[in-house]
């Protein structure tokens, strides 16, 4: 159970260094202006940075995130709840999650979304079952000093 660095073949210097890119399936369950809550089947360590990609209102949107906390969802099998911060590493463009979330919250409702002010206004495509509401869930505070 010990690493065997001396067994390295054909690898020297820069050739030894690489980046492993993994794709972790997630479900976006909660959003705010600064972050989001995800569910995923594997643990993501606090501080992990990654690229989140989701389809919102028919457009694939991406943003960089940093994991603030991750904990198993009790009684749900191998499901982890991840609180993540939406990082401002790219320009606020049409294909960013931040812009989509901002539009939803500001009332420019995309199909399936509504504001949190209690008076839910449905668009033509919106069904009541698909409306979002303000979260009253109580999750533990984030571990980083910049909460989601």
């Amino acid at each position: 159970m010990t690493a065997r660095p001396h067994e390295t073949r054909q690898t020297d210097g820069l050739d030894q260094v690489a980046t492993l890119v993994r794709s972790v399936p997630v479900r976006l369950v909660e959003v705010s202006r600064g972050g989001c809550r995800l569910e995923c089947p594997v643990r993501l360590e606090s501080g992990t940075a990654g690229l989140l990609a989701v389809e919102l209102a028919g457009v694939l949107r991406v943003d960089d995130i940093r994991v603030a906390r991750c904990q198993p969802r009790v009684g749900a099998g191998p499901v982890f709840q991840v609180g993540a911060e939406l990082l401002k590493t790219r320009r606020l463009g049409r294909r960013t999650i931040r812009l989509a979330v901002s539009r939803i919250i500001n009332g420019e409702r995309a199909p399936g979304y509504a504001s949190n002010d209690g008076e839910v206004a449905y668009t033509a495509e919106t069904t009541p079952a698909a409306v979002i509401r303000m979260s009253d869930g109580r999750a533990p505070p984030p571990t980083s000093d910049r909460g989601s």
């Binding site: 390295t8 260094v17 993994r22």
Partner: protein, 104 residues
């Protein structure tokens, strides 16, 4: 007064959760590499049969799609826990699921 570490923004629960994926990058050390197999030391474990991409920095950035066949914990020279991951490079142009870095 704002409290350090506390949330500042209202949160909105989606009635219909949205499926997506997160691309996570980890720096790894290549232990051995040939046409049939690549062995790396990674800070995290990988699941067997999981598809990953390996970006090798030597001679420019070279990207290889590979399938995880084995992942075992090991103790590295500095005493840290690492995971020795055996990868089989893809023989086809199979690409790991998800999106590219620019979102396409």
């Amino acid at each position: 007064m704002s409290l350090l570490g506390r949330r500042k923004h209202s949160r909105y629960l989606l009635a219909q959760p949205v499926e997506g994926n997160v691309r996570v990058r980890d720096e790894v050390t290549i232990e051995s590499r040939d046409e049939r197999e690549i062995v790396v030391l990674a800070p995290v474990a990988c699941r067997p049969d999981e598809w990953v991409a390996l970006e090798i920095l030597a001679s420019g950035r070279h990207r290889v799609s590979a399938k995880v066949v084995e992942s075992r914990p090991v103790v590295a020279e500095d005493g840290a826990i690492r995971h020795r991951v055996r990868l089989v490079p893809s023989t086809t142009d199979a690409e790991m699921p998800g999106v590219t870095e620019d979102g396409r």
